[in-house]
Symmetry: C2
Subunit: 371 residues, 2 copies
Amino acid sequence: MPQIDHTVHVALGERAYDILIGPRLLEEAGAILADRFPGRRFGIVTDETVAKAQLPRLQTALDAAGLSYSAIVLPPGEATKSYSALEQVVEGLLAARLERGDLVIALGGGVIGDLAGFAAAITRRGMDFVQMPTSLLAQVDSSVGGKTGINSPQGKNLVGAFHQPRLVLADLSTLDTLPLRQFAAGYAEVVKYGLIDDPQFFEWLEANRSEIFAGGPARGEAIARCCAHKARVVIEDETETGVRALLNLGHTFGHALEKDTGYSDRLLHGEGVSIGMVLAHGFSTRLGLAPGQDASRVENHLKAAGLPTRLADIPGEIGSTETLMAAVAQDKKVQRGALTFILTRGIGQAFIEKNVDPQVVHGYLEEMRSA
Amino acid sequence: MPQIDHTVHVALGERAYDILIGPRLLEEAGAILADRFPGRRFGIVTDETVAKAQLPRLQTALDAAGLSYSAIVLPPGEATKSYSALEQVVEGLLAARLERGDLVIALGGGVIGDLAGFAAAITRRGMDFVQMPTSLLAQVDSSVGGKTGINSPQGKNLVGAFHQPRLVLADLSTLDTLPLRQFAAGYAEVVKYGLIDDPQFFEWLEANRSEIFAGGPARGEAIARCCAHKARVVIEDETETGVRALLNLGHTFGHALEKDTGYSDRLLHGEGVSIGMVLAHGFSTRLGLAPGQDASRVENHLKAAGLPTRLADIPGEIGSTETLMAAVAQDKKVQRGALTFILTRGIGQAFIEKNVDPQVVHGYLEEMRSA
């Protein structure tokens, strides 16, 4: 029997699925898949980095269970969330003669999960898929909830689909080979769950951050709590017509900064979110909505985790305030011309504000550039 | 008040929508859209041919209603159902700053409807869209039911999404400028509805074909009956896990022939379906399932409508039987390696057969090549 430390059920009716969290689930993947999806074939999508570290483990497990599969290996990095990589994956799945009832396996971080999930959504008008997230970011955030997609030259995640996985297997051992910078970037999304509506979880993180980074039992517990949180939100609002937008805390600023740095290694997604969350708290303080000491506490915690928290922490030059504002305005969270932001009344008290004045944001960003 | 001859309601719960059929609905489109979608903006997708004949009519109507819109004009033809055209449309919609609540308008035939609907499905993870079909094929078939997509080099419609329109406006006057060959190709899909399960409709078509081609009241009635038929099937099986596959009568052979002729003017989609339906009837007769006189009656009716009915009717050389079989096997209607075909016990008695022996199909095709 596989060792499964935590099971989180995402109760989405006929699209319901389980998130399984355990120390070495890749070794168990063959048995789990053969049990849950008898007679199916599999198309693994991964990147070169993950292929080196994890693909042989998965292949060995699938072979042992007698499962039939093929693998598509892409270059690592955010640039892979492109139209051309999407076409490559779709054509690869078709060339492997995978049928509508077969499954795509997304083995990798957020980039691979988003790309492979989107390819599954549109190949033969919808194939099933399984998430096997290998980064902290993917395990706590992107592998759960069915948001899939690629980036447009005009902005991040502007092209995609809502397509729920049939199963998520989070193997904790894959995090052991993750570079610290990547782990910290994923940690920003962990912190986000506390900041949205769970101040107790934020406090718990303040007390347990070291153990989470060191790999003790708190790590698995943190991941399970994040998944449970996200599952609740997704169940309530699968296609983000309401409360799900809270999960975008820090993301409007973050996406603008990622775009400005060309989705490059200069700023990882989670790093953009870290700066974005600090900006969202600072902006809320500026508007008189939230106490300033909460903003400081957030910044201190993220800084202690090794994350950037200010515009000045981004290496190299960043674009003009006008450039950043244009990116903010192109973000998906714009409705009828007014800017929608996730603001906060303090730690664990985030809310959706649909009528933010672009001029006020402009002034705040202008000031933050020299902070 | 707009003159609406027929209204067909597609009762798909929260995805329900109306199909409106009338003599000059493009002139009424501004008023109808302003009434049903207040405050929204619109992105029109069309092709160069339709743009010349119909776009000014639509623009005048939208202007008169004070609606805001932009337009994307693509080259005409099946080659436009490509990855690159999809990217062009998505980027065009984003560049026009259309938001998630805005609507895409597909103004054109099946190619534009499939492409624009798919672009709507994936832009910002799903925009609403309106079908304004301007070909007979699109009015009776492709604009209804939410199948959207593009072609892969590996086969037709292999990439796409199920995405229902919010409204279908079928303006009968657009068919007056349609070349006869295009009209006839669409008529093949009209005949299909009779062949599936409505022998009375097939008889009615035998009696009314001339009036349908000439543009009398029978034309609107035929279109409304086809839409009502398709709506019933789509309501029962939205994502084609069962009976909806019956709508593919003639399409497995047809798609293989279209692929073989490079999705070119050598063989229009409806022409491929015409030959495919005759082959499906002939093959069913060969298997002892259907009376031979029904196959002859089908062929005679399609021939009288000016449609090709045999492989030899396709201009130029067609590929080897092996090439055609490979295309048949790549068709979406393949499950677990066995071939799925829509076969028939006679006119109006089609059924899904999931265990067709590829060898028998091979032998039949081989023989038909010299028929």
